[in-house]
Amino acid sequence: MSDMVPIVQMKKINKFFPGVRALSEVDFRLFKGEVHALMGQNGAGKSTLVKVLTGVYRQDSGEMLLEGKQIRPDSPLAAQKLGINTVYQEVNLCLNLSVAENVFIGKEPMSLGRIDWKTMNRKAEEVLARLNISIDVTRTLSSYSIAVQQMVAIARVLDSSAKVLILDEPTSSLDESEVEQLFKVIRKLRDEGLAILFITHFLDQTYQISDRITVLKNGFFIGEYETDKLPKLELITKMLGKELSEFSYSSKGDEKQKAAAAALKDKGAVLRVKDLGLQGSIAPFDLELEAGDVLGLAGLLGSGRTEMARLIFGIDIADQGQIQIKGKKADIASPRKAMMAGIGFCSEDRKSEGVFAELSIRENIILALQARRGVFKYLSLKKQDETAEALIKSLGIKTPSANNEARQLSGGNQQKVMVARWLATDPSILILDEPTRGIDVGAKLEIMEQILNLSREGLGIIFISSEFEEVLRCSNRIAVLKDKAKIAELSGEEMTESGIMRTIAGGK
C-alpha cells in the first residue's frame, strides 16, 4: 500500500497549548479504501490530531495534504466542504425531528422556496439503504435505537463529496450485535472507496475492523503498522511506550505492609461484590476487598475501571448483582448511601467532580463528614479546624492556612484534600480513581506513600491508575480489566507489568 498516494497526509504536525506540547512532529497517512485505527492512551494526542484534521484546531506547524493538495481548514464546516466528515462519540442529532430531517438538516432539498418533503424523504431512504437500513424515515429519531441513530449520523455526512469519514468512539454505547451491524456498514463503505479513520478504546474491535493502525503516545508518532502484522501484545507495548524487555519491575511489596495486611486478614472481607453489572457500562464482576488490602484496577483507557468504581459508589445504579459490606448486604442506590455504608470515592475528574474551588480547604475537608452528620449537627468552627488541621498535617497538604480557598492549591494538594475529605468520615473502604493524574512526580510518590500508610491502618483501598507501574507499586492484588469487563485477578508472582499486558492481550 505504501506505493499508493494517500488521500490524507499529515506531515510533521506540531500543536502547542499553553504549557503543553500536544503534538510533536506527528506524521499520519490515510488511504482510500481502508479502515485506519488511531490508538493511544490518555493524552496521546489522538483527539488533538483529529481536531487539526477536521479544522477545529489549526496546527502550529507542519502541513496537511488532501489528494496531494495542501489544505488548511479553519473550521469543521470548511473541512466538511473538503470532504472530511466526522461522526462524534455523542451522537449530536435532533431526537425530536424525523429521521429524514436529521439526515438533511441544513441542506434540505427545496422547491419553490419550501422544503420538498417528498424528495427529502425519498433521498433519505436511499442514503439509509446504502447503509443496509430500511426504516420509516418520517418517524422521529427518538423512536429508534442508538445503533440506528448512529447510522443516521453517518448517513448525514455521506454524500457524493465525502472522501474521509472519521468515527470517534462509535461503538461505546452499542451492544455486540449492534457493533456487528455497524462494522458491516463500515466495511461496505470502505469497499466503496471511502477512507475511514476509526478511533476506539476497544482492542478487539480494532483487530476486527481495521486494516492499519497508527499509534501515538504523549503527542509523539510511535509508528504506523499493518494490523495483521502487529500482535496485540506488541500494540499494547507500543501504546504504553516501552519494550517488553524493560518490564522487569514487579511488586515485591514492602514486607512490613504485607505483615500488617496479614494481621488484618482474619477480620474478613470489608467489601464483597457479587455479579455486579450494568448493561452498556460494565459486564458483571466479582470483587473482594479485605481490611488493609490495596486492590489495583489495571486496564487501558476505557476498559471499565471508572465504571466499576461508579457502580460500587452508587453513582450509576447496577441492574444486577449485589454488594456486601462487612458481611451485610448493602443497598447502595446513591453516593449518599455509599458514604453512609462507609465507602469513600475520589473521582478521576478532580475539577468537576471533586474540589469546591471557592470553598476553603477546611470546608472542602469537612464537607462529607458534615453531610454524613446532617444539616443540623453542625460541626463547630473549632471542631472543623481541628479535623482539617489534623488531616492537613498527616497528609502533608502544603498550605499557609486551612482557610485559603481550595483553588489556590496545586493539583497534588487538591488531590490530598479529596482524600482528606473521605478520611474525615472514617470510611472502611476508599476508592481512588486516578489520584495521581495531572500532578507532578514528587506529589505522585507522596500520594502513593499515603495509600500504603492508610492500608496499614486497616483501610481497604481500591486504587485505579493508568500507569501500571503505580498500580504494581501500591497494590497487593490486581484486577485486570479489558473492554468493559473484569478478565482476571493477579497476585503474587504474576504481578508484573508484562503479566498485566499479557493478560490484556490474551484471550477475551
Binding site: R336, S347, E358, R373
Partner: protein, 340 residues
C-alpha cells in the same frame, strides 16, 4: 495601603461604598433629602421612605440570595407577591366597616402558605424535573399573575380592616414596621444558614453540584428548600405590599419586583454563578436600588428617561464591583499603587 486593600477586599465594602456615593450625591444636589420631621409620633422624610418602600424588595432579596447561591434564579417572586396579596385581601374582605371576613392572622397565614406552595412548585420543577431554573420559574412568573387575577375575581380589592395596615404603614419607635420584619427575617435566615450546615451545603451545591452529590449532600432537597423559602419570602413581601396600599391588584402588585430584587442580590456581591452568598450585601443592594428610585423621583427626572438614568447608575455600580475593572483603572493610574 495594606489597610485599604484589606478593606476593599471585604465583600460588603463596594456595595456600601456605592450607597454612600449615592447618599452624598443627594446631600449636595437634592434639596432637603435628609430632612426628617416628627409627625404624629413617627419620622417622615426621604430616608424613611427609602426604608419603607424598599422593604418588599429586601424581603424578596433575602429569599433570592439563597436561590442565586445555588446557581439558580427565581423570576416568579413578583407574581407570587401578587398571589399573596390577592389571597390575604380576599380572606380579609372589603367590608367598609373594616370587619374582616376571617381573622387577620389566619388570612395572613393562608397567604404565606399559598406562597410557600408556589415556591415548592418551583422547587419541584428545578430539583426533581430538573428544569432550568429560569424556565421553571418563568411558568409561575406568567401563570402567577393569572392566579392572582382569579383569586381577586379580576378586580382591585380594597381593604378597610385597620389592624392589617400596621404591616405596611405602621411605625415602631419612629421607624416603619416593615423594616423590623426585614430585620427579623434577615437575622433568622442568617442564623439558620450559618449556625447549621445549611449555608455551607447551599454554597457547595451552587459551586459544584456533581461534587456535592458525590460528597453525600442531598442536593435535591437543598434546591427544593431554597425555592420554597423564596416563595415564603415573596409571601411576606406580598402582605407588606398589600398592607401598604390596602388593596390587592393582581395586575400590578409586585410588578417588576423580581428584577429589582435580583439586581439587589447581585449588587450585594452574590454571584449569579452560585457559591458564596451575602445576605447583608443583598439588603444593602436593595437599599441602593431604592435610593436610586427615590432620587430619580426627588429629582423630578422625566419618567421617559428615568429608566435610562437608573440603568446608567446600575451599570456604574456593577463596574465598581468588578475587580478586573478596578485593576484596569488602577493600572491606568500608574503601577505604584498596585505594588504598594
Amino acid at each position: 495601603m495594606a489597610w485599604w486593600r484589606s478593606l476593599t477586599n471585604k465583600k460588603l465594602f463596594w456595595p456600601l461604598f456605592a450607597l454612600a456615593v449615592l447618599l452624598i450625591f443627594n446631600l449636595f444636589f437634592t434639596p432637603h433629602f435628609f430632612r426628617m420631621e416628627m409627625k404624629e409620633g413617627h419620622l417622615y422624610g426621604n430616608v424613611i421612605d427609602i426604608l419603607k418602600n424598599g422593604a418588599p424588595i429586601m424581603l424578596l432579596a433575602i429569599g433570592l440570595t439563597l436561590v442565586i447561591a445555588t446557581k439558580g434564579i427565581d423570576i416568579s417572586v413578583g407574581s407570587v407577591v401578587a398571589i399573596s396579596a390577592g389571597v390575604v385581601a380576599m380572606l380579609i374582605g372589603g367590608d367598609l366597616q373594616g370587619h374582616p371576613k376571617y381573622p387577620i392572622l389566619m388570612a395572613m397565614g393562608a397567604a404565606i402558605l399559598v406562597s410557600i406552595l408556589a415556591g415548592m412548585w418551583n422547587g419541584m420543577l428545578v430539583s426533581r424535573v430538573r428544569m432550568q431554573p429560569i424556565i421553571a420559574t418563568l411558568i409561575l412568573f406568567v401563570a402567577g399573575r393569572g392566579i392572582a387575577m382569579v383569586t381577586t375575581n379580576a378586580m382591585v380589592v380594597w381593604l378597610y380592616a385597620k389592624p392589617f395596615a400596621l404591616l405596611g404603614q405602621g411605625y415602631i419607635l419612629g421607624l416603619p414596621f416593615s423594616i423590623y420584619i426585614v430585620l427579623i427575617l434577615v437575622l433568622l435566615t442568617a442564623l439558620v444558614t450559618r449556625m447549621t450546615a445549611l449555608g455551607l451545603f447551599i454554597e457547595a451545591v451552587g459551586i459544584n453540584p456533581t461534587a456535592s452529590r458525590f460528597a453525600g449532600i442531598n442536593a435535591k432537597n437543598i434546591l427544593f428548600g431554597v425555592y420554597a423559602f423564596s416563595g415564603f419570602c415573596a409571601g411576606i413581601s406580598g402582605l407588606v405590599v398589600c398592607s401598604t396600599v390596602m388593596s390587592a391588584d393582581g395586575n400590578n402588585a409586585g410588578l417588576g419586583y423580581e428584577m429589582d430584587a435580583i439586581l439587589a442580590v447581585v449588587i450585594g456581591g452574590t454571584s449569579m454563578n452560585g457559591g458564596k452568598f451575602y445576605l447583608l450585601g443583598s439588603i444593602v443592594g436593595a437599599l441602593i436600588v431604592q435610593t436610586l428610585t427615590t432620587t430619580i423621583y426627588a429629582f423630578n427626572i422625566p419618567p421617559e428617561i428615568s429608566k435610562v438614568v437608573k440603568a446608567l447608575v446600575v451599570w456604574a455600580v456593577c463596574l465598581l464591583q468588578s475587580s478586573s475593572f478596578r485593576s484596569m483603572i488602577a493600572g491606568a493610574f500608574g503601577k505604584k499603587e498596585l505594588s504598594a
